[in-house]
């Protein structure tokens, strides 16, 4: 009798647990579903009361309009170029610095690392003003190069920290063995450490990519021409129009999330490992 009591009690616990997960699952995913459903409605149907849940006359017109008539391809290209470049530069430079901090007993190491940590906290709005002036003077206002430089401010500090966590996890004896065999530090870095932290580099690149791709503040202040608009800026501009075309906006927002989501789904294992590398020592 007692065992059946335990059994039914554990069944109850399981039911509660799955119900709670179910509710949270709906909370997390329903907004995405709602975006999809809205994006497939004609505009008249989206602005009808009472609200229809499933599109009555499903259409992909919103996607066609966004992609072909509203230059979304250009915005996508801009976002991609800028985000990938930022991710690559900050990960490479970050890996060098992370190796330096991890392996050498440098004087003023504490100060230097404190500096890196502080740069992580500076808010974007502290920097955008001066950036506007500096980039204008350098002729880099309203260029992708200007945006890449600006995005380094968000991505590089994080990249150094994440990668240092990974390099700390690799035994220094490997370096020393290679040095005993006559390798220089650069060879050690590229031949020994580099291959071992590849998962960490992937995670860092993904994180930097997401940061750069998702930014609005910098693109809004450092670009002005139609040719330089990024995906987030396009979305933000559409929502500020007087008559918002919601199906188009939802289609644009969904497409704007796709690259990040795809990369994330492919690489999520390493991302989680990378984000916690500093906090959890194996």
């Amino acid at each position: 009798m007692e065992s059946s009591l335990i059994y039914s009690r554990s069944r109850l616990v399981a039911a509660v647990v799955y119900a709670w997960l179910g509710i949270m699952g709906v909370f997390v995913l329903f907004p995405f579903l709602w975006m999809v459903l809205t994006s497939l409605k004609p505009e008249i149907e989206a602005l009808r009361v009472p609200v229809t849940w499933l599109p009555e006359t499903p259409t992909v017109e919103a996607y066609v309009v966004m992609w072909f008539r509203k230059h979304y391809a250009t915005y996508f290209l801009n976002s991609t170029i800028v985000s990938l470049s930022t991710a690559a530069i900050s990960t490479f430079v970050g890996a060098l610095a992370a190796y330096g901090f991890s392996r050498f007993g440098l004087a003023a190491k504490g100060t230097m690392m404190g500096f890196v940590l502080t740069t992580q906290m500076l808010p974007g709005v502290l920097l955008v003003g001066p950036y506007f002036q500096i980039l204008s003077r350098l002729g880099l206002y309203d260029t992708r190069t200007g945006l890449i430089i600006a995005f380094l401010t968000i991505c590089l500090p994080f990249a150094i920290w994440m990668l240092k966590g990974f390099i700390d996890g690799i035994p220094a004896e490997l370096d020393e063995a290679a040095i005993v065999d006559g390798a220089g530090r650069l060879t050690v870095f590229f031949r020994v450490v580099f291959p071992l932290i590849r998962p960490g580099m992937v995670a860092t690149m993904l994180f930097a990519f997401l940061l750069a791709w998702g930014d609005l503040l910098w693109v809004q202040t450092l670009t002005s021409s139609e040719a330089m608009v990024t995906v987030t800026l396009a979305i933000a501009r559409t929502v500020q129009e007087f008559f918002v075309k919601w199906p188009e906006l939802m289609a644009g927002a969904l497409m704007g999330g796709v690259p990040g989501v795809l990369f994330y789904l492919l690489l999520q294992r390493w991302l989680v490992q990378g984000l916690t590398a500093g906090a959890i020592k194996q």
Partner: protein
Amino acid sequence: MMLGIRLPALRDRLMGYAFVAPALLLLLAVLAYPAGRSLRLSLSSGVRGSSGYSLVQYAELLRSDVFRQVLQNTALFVAASVALHLALGLALALTLNRPLFGRAAFRVLALLPWVVPDVVAGIVWKWILNPLYGLMNDLLFRAGLIAAPVEWLTAPGLVLPSVVLANVWRGFPFVMIILLAGLQSIPVELYEAAAIDGAGTVQRFRHVTLPGLRKVLIVALALDTIWEVRRFGLIQAMTAGGPGIMSEVLSTQVFKQYFQFFKFEYASAMAIAMTGLLLVVSLPYVRMIVRQE
């Protein structure tokens, strides 16, 4: 030291500086220099031709009712967001830290709101909370809970909670994932030992789980706080700080002062104040990391 024999220590040390130099120089150029210029700008009187230092902007900041309101909004927004991220994140991490059907899929999918740009989070919730055509009012109406449309994003008492709701959706998955990784790094033997000693569920949580999570908790809280103080795109897309300044936070306000009202010196002072706030808030985190190194 074996290395000392083969490689002159000084040369190796110099090599170390060479490794960190590109990043540090880059950070000095792209971050420290502009930050310094902002600081300099915030200390000028704003009067043409005068080049001395002045605290006029900060004095104006202290007198401004708008600034006080924005500060209060920011505090509420950050506190509510971070608290709810932590509550939901911890609850879900504890739930997922056991064998469950579909656990891996849930873990992967739950992070999606955090992966998409925060602008996207802002506009999808703006649409869901649309008073006339939004899903939220439709659901509440069908359930018989409301008779007239609720103005989620224009009613004074509702706009800030609505923005927080969107931000909770966007941000709690990150805290959940970090805490889950932390939970999984706690050795099972500790729980077994505690159970043998007769510790109940609550005691095991207090004496094994919480101490084991301490470090990740500090990291997750610190990063989340820093990010939420800096949050811009979500609010800009959802309400642009409005109506009036009811959902205005520091980052949107500095942006407005700088690029719409062109009060460069005043905006810089506000940004400097915001930076000071961030540095103070993240002090425990910095101390922990420095001690760890």
